[in-house]
C-alpha cells in the first residue's frame, strides 16, 4: 500500500513529532537505519516526500539551522497560542522544593538535590526554572559526569523581593513556620 519512500517519510514524521527538536539528516540516518544504513540521499528524498504528504495538513516540515522540524502552519498558529494563556496554574511542590534547595544550598548539583529529596528531579523542572530565569548553571563539578552546578539568579532575588541571598530567613525559623498552619498533606 505504501511505497518504501512513504514508509521512511512516515518514520521521520514520527521521530520529528516526538523529538521536540530539529534533527539533522545525519541524525535521521542513524535513527532510521536499523540493520543496514540508509544513505543521506534516501533521507533527503524521504524528507521531500514528507513535505508532500503533509501539504494538506496542519503541520509543515521546515528546515532551520539545526536541521528539520515540524511546526504548525500559519492558519492554526492563532488557535494554538490560546494554549499558552491556559498554562499558568501553580508550580508543583516538586518544583518549589527544588528551587528552595538551590536557593539555600547553592551551588548544588541535580544529584545532590535528588539525594536530599529522595526522588528524581525531572528535567522538566530544571528546564522550567531555567526558562523562568530563576536558576542557571554556574559551572561543572570536576567529578565523573561533570554534573552542572546550579545557582539562583538575580531575577530570582527580584522575584522574591530579596536584595541578597542572605536575606532568606535562616533555616531554623522555618520550623516555626511549619508550626503555624502549614498543612503538609492538604490534598
Amino acid at each position: 500500500m505504501q511505497s518504501g519512500d512513504d514508509a521512511l517519510a512516515m518514520q521521520i514524521q514520527a521521530l520529528l513529532l516526538c523529538s521536540g527538536r530539529a534533527m539533522t539528516v545525519a541524525q535521521l540516518q542513524e535513527l532510521c537505519g536499523s540493520e543496514h544504513t540508509v544513505d543521506a540521499d534516501t533521507i533527503s528524498g524521504a524528507l521531500q516526500r514528507l513535505e508532500v504528504l503533509l501539504e494538506q495538513g496542519v503541520m509543515a516540515l521546515v528546515e532551520v539551522a539545526s536541521g528539520y522540524r515540524l511546526q504548525i502552519r500559519a492558519p492554526w498558529v492563532a488557535v494554538v497560542q490560546r494554549l499558552q494563556d491556559d498554562k499558568p496554574q501553580r508550580f508543583s511542590r516538586a518544583l518549589m522544593e527544588t528551587l528552595a534547595l538551590i536557593a539555600y544550598r547553592q551551588p548544588i548539583t541535580r544529584g545532590e538535590i535528588e539525594e536530599i529529596r529522595g526522588v528524581a528531579v525531572s528535567t522538566q523542572i530544571i528546564r522550567t526554572l531555567q526558562e523562568r530565569e530563576w536558576i542557571r548553571v554556574a559551572g561543572y563539578r570536576e567529578v565523573p559526569g561533570r554534573p552542572a552546578l546550579l545557582v539562583t539568579t538575580r531575577q530570582f532575588l527580584d522575584a522574591f523581593g530579596l536584595k541578597r541571598i542572605s536575606e532568606l530567613p535562616p533555616l531554623a525559623e522555618l520550623t516555626d513556620l511549619l508550626g503555624t498552619g502549614v498543612q503538609v498533606a492538604s490534598e
Binding site: F91, E97, A100, P107, R117, T175
Partner: protein, 273 residues
C-alpha cells in the same frame, strides 16, 4: 517442554543461575541481600518454595530455622532489620501452624475448627493475585514507554512574554519547610549563618566572573567588609577552586593573580538535560 520447565526453575541473580535456594524459609546471612532483592518478602519466598520446590509447609524444620534466624538477626545489627523482621515473623507463623497441627484435637471439634494452615494459605493466595496483577500492569503499554504522545513546540510568540504562575517568598519557604520536616536532612551545623554567608559569597563571585570570565584576584575582596569579609571571600574562592569551577592563574612570580572561569560560556544550555 522440559527445557522450559528447567528454565523456570533456575533463579538468576546478576545473570548467574542460582540453584542453591533453601528448601526451607531460612536464608543464609550472606545470601540475605540477594534474597531481599529477589523476593518481595516472606510471602513471595514462600510462594516460590511452594510453587517451584514443592515445599510442604508442614515439613519445615521450624525449630531449626528459628534458631538460625535468631542468630543471623543478631549478626545483622540493625542492617535492614525491618525487612529481616518480616521473614522472622513468617518463621514464627509457620512454627505456630506446625505446633497446632501436631496437637491432638478432640474428635468432635474437628468439624468446626479451621485447618491451622488455612489462614496462611488464604494470605498466600491473596498475595499471589496481586503479584500477578502487578506483572500484568507492568506489561501494559505505558506512557513514555510504549504510548508516545507527540508534542510540537508552540510557535514562537513575538516578544509576548510567557505567563508564569505567581509565587511568593512564603510559598518557597513553605516548600522548604515541608521538605525539612519530611526528611530532617539539615543537621544543625549546616543551618549556621556562616554556611549561608559562604555560599552566598560563592554565588556572588560566580556572578561577577560570569560577566567577566577573567578577573584580578584582588577584585574579589571588599576591604570595607573587614577581616571576616575577606576571610569569607577567600574561603569562597578556595571552595570554588576545589569544585573545579574557578582556576587561579599567575603569569609570573609576584605577578598579579587572576581568577579564571574554567567553564566556557555557551555550553550551559545542554549541560543539564
Amino acid at each position: 517442554m522440559e527445557t522450559l520447565e528447567a528454565e523456570v526453575r533456575v533463579v538468576r541473580i546478576d545473570g548467574q543461575p542460582w540453584q542453591d535456594w533453601p528448601e526451607d524459609l531460612y536464608i543464609p546471612p550472606d545470601a540475605l541481600e540477594v534474597a531481599l532483592e529477589r523476593f518481595e518478602g516472606p510471602l513471595d519466598l514462600l510462594l516460590y518454595l511452594i510453587r517451584k520446590q514443592n515445599l510442604d509447609i508442614l515439613d519445615i524444620p521450624v525449630a531449626h530455622i528459628t534458631h538460625q534466624y535468631m542468630r543471623y538477626v543478631d549478626a545483622m545489627q540493625g542492617l535492614r532489620f525491618e525487612l529481616a523482621a518480616d521473614y522472622l515473623v513468617m518463621a514464627a507463623v509457620l512454627g505456630e501452624i506446625k505446633s497446632r497441627c501436631l496437637l491432638p484435637r478432640p474428635s468432635r471439634d474437628t468439624q468446626e475448627e479451621e485447618d491451622p494452615r488455612a489462614e496462611l494459605v488464604r494470605r498466600l493466595q491473596e498475595y499471589e493475585r496481586f503479584k500477578k496483577a502487578a506483572e500484568v500492569l507492568d506489561q501494559l503499554p505505558l506512557e513514555g514507554r510504549e504510548l508516545l504522545v507527540p508534542m510540537l513546540a508552540l510557535p514562537e510568540v513575538s516578544e509576548r512574554s510567557k505567563i508564569w504562575p505567581e509565587v511568593g517568598l512564603n510559598d518557597l519557604l513553605q516548600a522548604l519547610a515541608i521538605l525539612l520536616k519530611r526528611a530532617e536532612l539539615f543537621e544543625s551545623h549546616q543551618v549556621s549563618r556562616e554556611g549561608l554567608t559562604l555560599r552566598e559569597r560563592m554565588s556572588e563571585i560566580l556572578e561577577q566572573i560570569h560577566h567577566a570570565d577573567f578577573l584580578p584576584f584582588i577584585r574579589l575582596f571588599r576591604l570595607e567588609e573587614g577581616k571576616i569579609g575577606i576571610v569569607v571571600s577567600f574561603m569562597a574562592v578556595l571552595e570554588l577552586v576545589k569544585e573545579g569551577i574557578l582556576e587561579l592563574v599567575q603569569a609570573d612570580f609576584q605577578a598579579p593573580i587572576f581568577v579564571r572561569n574554567r567553564i566556557m560560556a555557551g555550553d550551559e544550555a545542554d549541560a543539564i538535560g
